[in-house]
Amino acid sequence: MINKVVPSAQAALHDIFDGATLMLGGFGLCGIPENAIAELIRLEVKNLTCISNNAGVDDFGLGLLLQKRQVKKMIASYVGENAEFERQLLSGELEVDLIPQGTLAERIRAGGAGIPAFFTSAGYGTEVGEGKEAREFNGKMYLLESWLKADFALVKAWKGDTAGNLVYKGTARNFNPLMATAGKITIAEVEELLPAGALDPNQIHTPGIFVQRIFQGQHYEKRIEQRTVSSA
């Protein structure tokens, strides 16, 4: 089997360039590639286009990149937890493309699956549909949406093996498996890196073919946005 392991985030992200288009997995702060984000900050790469469902919070996740003004354009579905984001957006410092969440997910899947465009009903009759081709199927209106791809996809998994196979945990899966398919170079960080053969082939979420580089992540903080509990 092909070995995709690199020793560190530094080795994995060494060729990310100013102006690159990145996909970053995660929903809120759940399942984000913490090590890759830290390395992007260390690299000080600029003018990034970031495709991610959310934009982190002010002081964690993608919010850290926004703080450092490394992001030129953000493509997301919901950015409500980030005041700095809203400030940069309203002041015009940041380009933003807001996309319905299901359309965002499907456009990324389409990018990975070689489907240049598809029809979806989400956003018809709204601002999202402006300038887009609309068509009726079976009496309902749909919009034509195009695929999304990225120079680099940065994803985070629970377990991975040396062949690049990935398994996610809980709702930390979210956009990660989709983005893994749509990056020209997909870089996976994992909580636990295992030898090929340690994962059940029947239970792989991302087959290794989609992953170009994999590394063992360090020091996961896994910050919780809303710690809600019930009494036992």
């Binding site: 809203e86 309203l90 807001l98 899947r109 989400a122 956003g123 809980g170 896994k222 509990v229």
Partner: protein
């Protein structure tokens, strides 16, 4: 007396049916989970990738890798399943969800809904709302009847950017239960002690009143 948000959630819970798969939006809709009638099998979908959402975890069972679409820590139940965001919206877009309950800033008498943007002021994004309203077989809106400054949120036309066209079926507010009909908002029930005249006053869109309007019982 107008319903509080728990009252609204309790009234919405009466719309549930055994065997329903339900997506609950953020805010009041989330509270509906607390009022599912005992013995009724209802499965909650969270669009970030969970079917069969359970209650909040006990303190020692909190898992950062298990949240709902509102970013709250939750639990799974026996029979739950986890999946990616494309599969989640395949469920939604493919009309596999029986009922969607969500909040709104405005609803028009045609059933249009606005809940994602206030131009120049608030830009949080639509999240999954546009997908949900474009595809749900049945959409109930849970909201206050009027804004904090007393403006009606039930309008002839939405003034804010639209989330979806002609999609809302029913609205449950602090004052009333209303159904969208070709003629406008049809008043079905009123909050205990709230008069039809009060509801009329708080409703800017066309209000249809036919016969005696019963009180909501929760």
């Amino acid at each position: 007396m107008a319903l509080d948000k728990h009252g609204i959630a309790r009234r919405i819970a009466q719309e549930l049916q055994d065997g329903y798969y339900v997506n609950l939006g953020i805010g009041i809709p989330t509270l509906v989970a607390n009022y599912i009638p005992a013995g009724m099998n209802v499965v909650l979908q969270s669009e970030n990738g969970l079917l069969g959402m359970g209650p909040f975890p006990t303190d020692d069972a909190v898992d950062a890798d298990l949240i709902n679409a509102g970013k709250q820590t939750v639990t799974t139940l026996p029979g739950s399943s986890l999946f990616n965001s494309a599969e989640s919206f395949a469920m939604i877009r493919g009309e596999h969800i029986d009922l969607t309950i969500l909040g709104a800033m405005e609803v028009s008498e045609k059933g249009d809904i606005a809940n994602w943007k206030i131009p120049g002021k608030m830009v949080k994004g639509m999240g999954g709302a546009m997908d949900l309203v474009a595809s749900a077989r049945n959409i109930i809106v849970a909201m206050q009847h009027t804004s904090k400054d007393g403006q009606s949120k039930l309008l002839p036309e939405c003034t804010l950017p639209i989330t979806g066209l002609r999609c809302v079926k029913k609205i449950i507010t602090d004052l009333a239960v209303l159904e969208i009909t070709p003629q406008g908002f049809k008043l079905l029930e009123r909050a205990p002690g709230v008069s039809v005249a009060e509801i009329q006053k708080a409703t800017a869109g066309q209000l249809i009143i036919e016969g005696a309007i019963p009180e909501i019982t929760v």
